[in-house]
Symmetry: C2
Subunit: 184 residues, 2 copies
DNA sequence: CAAAGCATGTAAGCAGTTACATGATTGT
DNA sequence: ACAATCATGTAACTGCTTACATGCTTTG
């Protein structure tokens, strides 16, 4: 349970076309969904079948026709039920950590290199998140104070998470210096 | 790319049956795979077709026959290539954070309640991780010092991650007290 | 006597991805 | 001229999950 609710969430703000929703998903980092249209268009069809959204087709000249989706009362109920449902733990799968389980198969130098590569990735990610946060605060829409506070918290949390991972990696690097060469 | 490599990783230690692998996956928290046999048995069939493992059938009396899987040289090469491949960012999908995007649809009290529920989840998870770490250090197999150090680091990292999330949640709770009731 | 463990597997389905297909319009 | 944007959609695939099926043995 899944992207359907996030779509309903967006539609609770105002009606959107599939294309616009796709962009929303693609733009927002915290939303981890890649914004691929196959899934979004498919979900919209299902949401419509279930009566959670309505469709209005608008013809345009010089542009393809749009399908504008609007949330229904049943959709709002479904959305609210989701918001009140029992929270789930964050799912985190860190393939790098899993790979470390077999670090013994690597020489010290090889291990060092992958650790550094992971570090560079994390650094880039932290920079990107910071940039997104900076730009996001300029184009903030009309949000209530509470809403703004929450969004900022979540964004900060994301950055802190990556920063913490990076700090952890640095300490790992330091620690590894005490094991000069595992397989001589 | 995926559980196949983790299976090869386990097999690099020693031969295993599908059933034993299933238990390995189910036991280890950091491995996020649920240890469901459909996937493991299926992967083993494929790994065999690709020549990355060999199968030996051992008949037992009073027990079903076992299929013992052994990694091949090609399998070891594949495993090593994976270990040296470009690292990936951790995938984290936190549905609770996403839900917070629509917190405006909830009253202060409702929001408080879900935040508390998420906090209880996190607390339980931290306790469970600590317990796993404690018990794990007792039954540690014959690992090199470097390997032990790495495993401990990864486990600590996991716990710190949940603790950080919990600390963040507490600060969020504090902050929310400044917005007594968004929709009066 | 029931439940858990040993040991294999299959079937059905969900969530999500990549890549393809069409076709006009606008920007570099 | 080429690429990007607007706007819809389909097909094929991967990875993973739940649930089912079988059948014998050990433990509580």
């Amino acid at each position: 349970m899944s992207i359907r609710h996030a779509i309903l969430g967006f539609l609770s703000w105002k009606p959107f076309t599939g294309y616009e929703l796709k962009k929303r998903f693609a733009d927002s980092l915290s939303f981890h969904w890649s914004g691929n249209n196959a899934q979004i268009y498919g979900s919209l069809v299902k949401l419509h079948e279930e009566g959670l959204v309505t469709i209005e087709v608008r013809q345009q000249d010089k542009r393809p026709a749009q399908k504008i989706y609007t949330i229904t009362e049943a959709g709002r109920r479904e959305l609210k039920a989701w918001l009140l449902a029992e929270p789930e733990l964050p799912e985190l799968r860190n393939l790098f950590h899993i790979r470390l389980a077999w670090a013994e198969l690597l020489g010290s130098r090889e291990l060092e290199l992958t650790v550094e590569a992971y570090g560079r990735l994390l650094e880039a990610q932290v920079l990107m998140c910071r940039e997104t946060r900076r730009r996001g605060s300029e184009e903030t829409p009309n949000r209530s104070p509470r809403e703004s506070f929450i969004w900022k918290s979540v964004e900060d949390n994301r950055i802190e998470g990556f920063e913490r991972e990076l700090a952890w990696l640095r300490s790992l690097e330091e620690g590894l210096k005490n094991f000069p060469e595992a397989r001589p």
